[in-house]
């Protein structure tokens, strides 16, 4: 016979087969009967079998020696792959698949029965194993599929392969007895070990002992060994899990068949995931689950699971690791899926497999095939918006690999975190009134109030625009002086109106306006400040008016707030122009003022709002604005700065309306009040106050050209009110707003005046102080 070169795989495989055929345990000759049976199991025709036996030289020898056996096997492989049977091809053909043998089904059934045998049944233990072992041997023979086992090259020793599938459904009771085995289970799986253990084990075996210990808890140590640590014990072929059906072959050797059975079972899975749970295993796990938790859709609490798995006598550290792997949703409890995965891992670990770092895909909870519909967790979508703790894996079977998604989730969660951090720093998302003081100073939470443009405001502005006939396209661009740089901001300012009813308005707007020079972080504030201040050269800067809502208290309170604020505000000449008060004049495009230098009062209806808008801007600047006595003098003097065109109108109006102003104002206010009761309740008061302040201030007249213009415009607007009343309700509302603006301006001035008065008082106090000693 020519020499036969076998690959390692083939070598191992063939040696196993030989041993399986080596019924007489001669290690040299395979019994003919067995060999022939094996060959027939290769599903080759008898003719081919004969040919093979002839070729391998068995017929010559009369028996199958090892070499003949190997040659025969190789020829079988050749035949199965469809290649012609040639002796020469024995060594020349490369990558020849291993010969395949088919086996029957009987063994499988018996295995099943045994698997779920009652663990308490100790009686028939011994009788049973032999039978089973035999059956297994048969299966080993029959169900030999090409595999890549890590078989010990020594033909006599068993493969140290530990099949991951061999997680037999032993009851927890079995674990108690596995204490001995724990050490065995963790023995290294070097090929040498089996060799060492082999002989003693064989001696220890009473016979066909095999991993039947798997099934019965009280299996004697050898049997347990076989189940627990496949590395040591070939008979661990107890692979009840994958019961390849087998014909019953009487003469079976334990050890060799066990070894092959190991490989066989591994191969049965067909090269797929070694962590896959077979149906029998799963059924067993489910039964175990039921013992702890009757409801299959329920959860096993952590403590119960801990108790259960502690029985396996695995070190706590490993159990902890198994828990981490299997508790997929990190809820401290095990669902059926998780429990099966954990159980599977425990069994694998007991068999000597290293625990994986990550949960294998086949053990992912999604693989529950029994109670898919009963899975309690809702199939949450795996989206990146879930936090790592809250995300529950999608347990629907349709979901792609959870493992990947989990890692993706984790990554995405980080991304999510960073994104949220980034976005939180963004200031363009929503315009918040960040300066709103909390209602309760003790609360740490400041409720941000988004500023938004109410439709009514927008509509009113549009109405204003229509009336003014502005050629400016965008509705509110009060800052005509600096349209290019501020147009965007003013647009935004227009769109972002003051919230009508918050008290904080006073705060925010005043803050923004007082700090107009400072860089303001919030875009809104910035815009407001720009829209509000634009002090130099701009008349119309007032913020847009609030919607026509009843907010008497608001206006009143806001005036109070304004008082408070204004008191704090330095009454400098360069008072930020715009009154932060909501009832402000709608921003008026300047060109309307400048471009309409008519001077006849017919246009005043249009220009007045513009004038009025200037008033709030300019009024605060002059503490003594309300000095009507100076009007004529000022009217003559051309106002120096902006509003040159308006001055014409104002002078004209001033002259004519000077005397009637007050009465008209009152009329106007009354008219206004007639039309809109609530909002006008406050205005009369400030009006009265203004008149009073006018009287007060008269003695302190100063050169206030701008102020006079402002006042004139304000007053001039009043006469127009009666006219507009008949026209348009919007006009009334606009005038109301103007009045309110005026009111606020006056209120501010009042504050200033009070301050002045206070200063004088203090001076007097100082003078008197020297006398206090007396």
């Amino acid at each position: 016979m020519e020499s036969l070169t076998l690959s390692d795989v083939e070598q191992k495989y063939y040696s196993e087969l030989f041993l399986s055929c080596d019924v007489d345990n001669t290690k040299k000759v395979a019994s003919n009967g067995k060999v022939l049976d094996l060959f027939r199991a290769a599903q080759l025709s008898n003719e081919v079998v004969h040919q093979i036996t002839e070729l391998c030289g068995a017929t010559r020898l009369g028996h199958f020696g090892r070499s003949q056996f190997y040659i025969a096997l190789k020829l079988i492989a050749l035949a199965q792959s469809g290649l012609p049977l040639r002796v020469e091809s024995l060594n020349s053909v490369r990558d020849l698949p291993l010969p395949r043998f088919v086996m029957g089904k009987n063994e499988q059934e018996t295995r099943h029965a045994v698997m779920f045998a009652d663990t308490e049944n100790q009686g028939p233990y011994f009788p049973r194993p032999p039978g089973r072992v035999q059956a297994k041997k048969v299966s080993a023979h029959e169900m030999i599929q090409p595999c890549v086992p890590t078989v010990d090259p020594q033909p006599d020793t068993t493969s140290p392969v530990v099949s991951p599938h061999q997680s037999p459904p032993t009851s927890p009771h079995a674990w108690r007895k596995h204490k001995r085995q724990a050490s065995g289970g963790n023995v290294d799986r070097q090929p040498s070990v089996p060799g060492v253990v082999w002989p003693p084990f064989r001696e220890a075996q009473p016979g066909p002992v095999t991993g039947d210990g798997m099934w019965s808890a009280h299996s004697p140590p050898p049997v347990q060994e076989s189940w627990v640590s496949f590395t040591d014990t070939p008979p661990s072929s107890t692979l009840p899990m994958h019961p390849p059906s087998a014909q019953v072959i009487t003469t079976v050797r334990t050890v060799p068949s066990a070894m092959t059975t190991n490989e066989i079972q591994r191969q049965i899975s067909g090269y797929d995931d070694p962590w896959k749970i077979t149906d029998e295993q799963r059924q067993y796990y489910i039964n175990q689950f039921k013992t702890i938790q009757a409801d299959l859709t329920g959860l096993i609490p952590g403590s119960a699971a801990k108790e259960f798995f502690t029985k396996s006598k695995l070190p706590i550290l490993e159990l902890s690791h198994i828990w981490e792997l299997s508790d997929f949703d990190k809820d401290g409890a095990l669902t059926l899926d998780e429990f099966c995965a954990a159980f599977h891992l425990v069994v694998a670990r007991k068999n000597g497999y290293d625990l994986p770092e990550k949960l294998p895909e086949s053990l992912m909870p999604k693989l529950i095939d029994l109670d898919d519909s009963a899975v309690p967790e809702p199939a949450t979508e795996v989206d990146f918006s879930a936090s790592p703790v809250e995300v529950t894996p999608n347990k629907s079977p349709s979901m792609p690999s959870l493992n990947q998604n989990w890692s993706e989730l984790n990554q995405s969660n980080e991304q999510w975190e960073t994104f949220s951090e980034r976005s939180s720093s963004s200031q363009t998302l929503t315009q918040f009134d960040s300066n709103i003081a909390p209602a309760d100073p003790d609360t740490a939470i400041v409720h941000p109030v988004p500023i938004r443009m109410t439709p009514s405001k927008i509509h009113m502005q549009e109405m204003e625009l229509k009336r003014t006939g502005s050629d400016h396209t965008h509705p509110t661009s009060p800052l005509m002086a600096n349209p290019p740089e501020l147009s965007d901001e003013t647009k935004l300012a227009a769109t972002i109106k003051f919230p009508g009813t918050t008290v904080g308005d006073g705060y925010s707007s005043s803050d923004s306006f007082t700090s107009d020079q400072e860089p303001i972080s919030s875009a809104v504030n910035r815009q407001r400040s720009h829209s509000g201040t634009s002090p130099e050269g701009l008349k119309v800067v007032a913020p847009p008016p609030p919607p026509p809502r009843p907010h008497a208290s608001h206006s009143r309170s806001s005036s109070l707030d304004m008082n408070r604020n204004f008191a704090a505000v330095p009454a400098g000449p360069q008072q930020p122009g715009v009154v932060a008060f909501p009832p402000a004049v709608p921003p008026r495009p300047l060109p309307t003022q400048t471009s309409v230098p008519h001077g006849h009062r017919s246009v005043e209806g249009d220009g007045l709002p513009a004038h009025t808008s200037t008033s709030p801007h300019q009024m605060p600047e002059q503490p003594n604005f309300a000095d009507f006595s100076q009007f004529q003098a000022f009217a003559v003097d051309q106002p120096a700065d902006d509003g040159e065109n308006t001055s014409d109108k104002t002078t004209g109006t001033m002259k004519t309306a000077k005397n009637d102003i007050q009465s008209e104002e009152r009329n106007a206010t009354t008219v206004n009040s007639a039309k809109v009761s609530t909002p006008l309740a406050p205005p009369p008061k400030p009006v009265r106050r203004r008149l009073k302040s006018e009287d007060e201030l008269r003695p302190d007249v100063e050169d206030l050209p701008q102020k006079s213009n402002v006042i004139a415009t304000v007053l001039a607007t009043q006469p127009s009110i009666p006219r507009s009343i008949g026209k348009d309700k919007k006009a009334i509302q606009a005038s109301i707003r103007r009045n309110k603006e005026t009111n606020t301006v006056l209120a501010r001035l009042n504050n200033v005046i009070e301050c002045d008065h206070r200063i004088s008082l203090e001076v007097q106090l100082e003078q008197l102080r020297p006398f206090s000693h007396l």
């Binding site: 609490p301 952590g302 403590s303 699971a305 801990k306 706590i316 550290l317 159990l319 902890s320 690791h321 828990w323 981490e324 508790d327 990190k330 809820d331 401290g332 770092e357 790592p388 703790v389 980080e414 975190e417 960073t418 951090e421 740490a444």
Partner: protein
Amino acid sequence: MAVCIAVIAKENCPLYIRSVPTQGELKFHYTVHTSLDVVEEKISGVGKALADQRELYLGLLYPTEDYKVYGYVTNSKVKFVIVVDSSNTSLRDNEIRSMFRKLHNSFTDVMCNPFYNPGDPIQSKAFDSIVSTMMVQAC
């Protein structure tokens, strides 16, 4: 990237401490130990407010010329301490916060494990891996 990460229990006994082995680990252990004083100071300072008022992230506890120490305390008084190299100026506060958040999450996972007894040293591989991602890769 941290140079040393430590988890200290409520009783101020260490549950987990891991540092880059290049420099003497004893130095980091000592640093963490002394930073506990600062942590105590910070969490006791907010006496009037309840725990939920107090922010979990304590911020920079103690800067030295070589490194900076950041602290984070949970509501159950478990403290996390991260020591970073001072030369690593690119580390922003937000990144430190996210590191603490990850630590806290994985610590919660460890706690959920029924096999973990509170007070035991943390031997979870998952926790180790999280920490490894945050440590300076020792070359």
